[in-house]
Amino acid sequence: MSFEDWFREDRLPHIYCTGCGNGTVINCTLEAVEQMGWTVDDTVFISGIGCSSRAPGYIKTDSLHTTHGRALAFATGVKLANPRLHVVVFTGDGDLAAIGGNHFIHACRRNIDLTVVCMNNMIYGMTGGQGSPCTPVGAISTTTPYGAAEPVFDLSELAVTAGANYVARWTSYHVRELTKAVQAGLETPGFSFIEALTQCPTAYGRRNKLRQVSDMVQYLRTSVILVQKIQRMRERGEPVPEDKIPVGEFVRRNRPAMGVQK
């Protein structure tokens, strides 16, 4: 089986804009699922509302496209009621961190055996570009016309603190690393959180001088710094640049987990 076999061809064309990063993240995720040897029949994709949450609709497995912010609560019910199913959640920064924030921290705390892939495009894409809890300070959106003023949520750090067993962050540029991270998440019993910083040229780039897709990808690529590099800089007593976003694996551990197939 090739990973193209996971897609519902009768749903094409998809709704994603040209240059959108979501397709890359979906491909990385399906590649990882395929590597796990999971099948269309024993895997379930669940999502909330937003661009990222449309992903399950293009995949052949059983899938739940639920209400805004609530994907993790629905997924908790599916996984606890049938632990034999492999459950993967697609979400976005608005869905997960704003309206779904409480479900996010509690799913991490319960350490329920799910893998969550968050496409963090730093904006509400589907509703046309409003500010999210992950919109960088100073960035322009339709609801932050003078520049976003609120501090940004670090979703990966939040997941680590709240108790997830596996947490990693990459960008849509880091295709191989991202795929490996998703696979590590799928392999780890308990709650796995993989954050993928993703370009949204339409709703974000257009308003923030990153109109070209390549500019946005380049921006993501140059905004990040490897956790290993931060470690080395600290060891050498060098100052760590504060404006860079750490990427890499933040935690891989074995806290007691819920819903793991016995």
Binding site: D10, I46, G57, S63, N82, N102, H103
Partner: protein, 366 residues
């Protein structure tokens, strides 16, 4: 062998659910429903079931819907404030045709209101509370025995019609302890599986599609968006939307006389009480204490879909009297279906109508 127990209403509700094969409970503590969650927390892990205390009522109903898609009979229990929080996902259960049972042990509202006092103030909310057009099934127990029997029945209705079914009880019945008979077994009518090769959201003869359980190879896409019969989002085609919503409503409404569950006393009477839930008990007391006064009684165990035909079976009726622990929510529905005078007898504050109060009404008749 059936057995006699002296049991609290909330416990009987939980036991009725277990007898019906409920395997999943997701809930959040709220007075006066908490004893149901507590009982399920003790019992479910010992019966191969799952109890999970979620972070709020939004998550509770979400988890219940998720569990239901794996084929499990699933329920939650709450009261007013939690019920309000559940409304969006109740709509999701409606449009995705997810069988589940939602118990509301009603208390005085609005808002925090009277947490420890009974009420029937959510009867319209359970019918109309989520946005958009739809139809639902709501049962209303008036005794501990009916808490058991009707909760068990709710699961059958949920599976048969693929809808969220409401057990609209209240603090009075939930907290009361009474003698009940636990039957050997309860009738179980399971959901009909989807025939392979059939579209997952095409209604059968009864308007209800077969159920494509997760993990069984159906590869079904379930979405809260308006969808076609394949389950694919199709949110801008007016005809698809109209056909879907009409089917969701008519699969319940067209079966309303079949769904109806009621007691009829003195069909020849001129004055007829219409009740559901605790005021039923007061009316029965009045009729017991004052027999032969030409009073009839329609006791509805299922309030929604409203079985309006039953009103017409009281052929000599001149007046309907509707005592309710709210400001006349179902009296309004009775009015909608009859040209005869309807006397609403609202009672707020948490206490049940007394026999004296209703007797006085009868004495005031011309």
């Amino acid at each position: 062998m059936s057995k006699i127990e002296f049991m609290q209403g909330n416990t009987a509700c939980a036991e009725g659910a277990l007898a019906a094969g409920c395997r999943f409970f997701g809930g959040y503590p709220i007075t006066p429903s908490t004893e149901i969650a507590e009982h399920m927390a003790r019992r479910l892990p010992k019966t191969d079931g799952v109890f999970v205390q979620m972070e709020d009522e939004i998550a509770s109903i979400a988890a219940v819907i998720g569990a239901s898609w794996t084929g499990a009979r699933a329920m939650t229990a709450t009261s007013g404030p939690g019920f309000s929080l559940m409304m969006e996902n109740i709509g999701y259960a409606v449009i995705t045709e997810t069988p589940c049972v939602i118990v509301n042990i009603q208390r005085g509202g609005p808002s925090t209101g009277q947490p420890t006092m009974g009420a029937q103030g959510d009867m319209l909310q359970c019918r109309f509370g989520s946005h958009g057009d739809y139809s639902t099934i709501a049962l209303s127990p008036s005794s501990v025995q009916e808490m058991y029997d009707l909760t068990a029945k709710a699961f059958n209705l949920a599976d048969r019609f693929r809808v969220p079914v409401f057990v609209m009880s209240d603090e009075v019945t939930g907290h009361m302890r009474e003698r009940i008979t636990i039957p050997d077994r309860v009738e179980i009518v399971s959901r009909r599986p989807l025939e392979k090769g059939t579209l997952p959201f095409r209604g059968g003869d009864d308007g209800v599609p077969g159920f494509p359980e997760f993990g069984m190879g159906y590869g079904v896409h379930v979405t809260g968006l308006t969808h076609d019969e394949r389950g694919y989002p199709e949110a801008t085609d007016p005809h698809i939307h109209a056909a879907l919503v009409q089917r969701l409503v008519s699969k319940v409404e067209s079966a309303r006389h079949d769904i109806a569950d009621y007691e009829m006393v003195n069909p020849d009477a001129e004055t007829v009480f219409v009740t559901y839930g605790p005021p039923t008990r007061t009316v029965k007391q009045v009729m017991h204490d004052h027999p032969g006064e030409g009073v009839g009684h329609l006791h509805l165990r299922i309030v929604w879909p409203f079985p309006e035909r039953l009103l017409r079976l009281f052929t000599n009726a001149k007046t309907f009297i509707v005592p309710e622990m709210n400001m006349g929510q179902i009296a309004r529905e009775v009015e909608r279906h009859t040209d005869l005078p309807v006397i609403s007898v609202p009672k707020l504050g948490g206490e049940l109508h007394t026999p004296g109060e209703l007797q006085k009404l009868l004495e005031a008749r011309p």
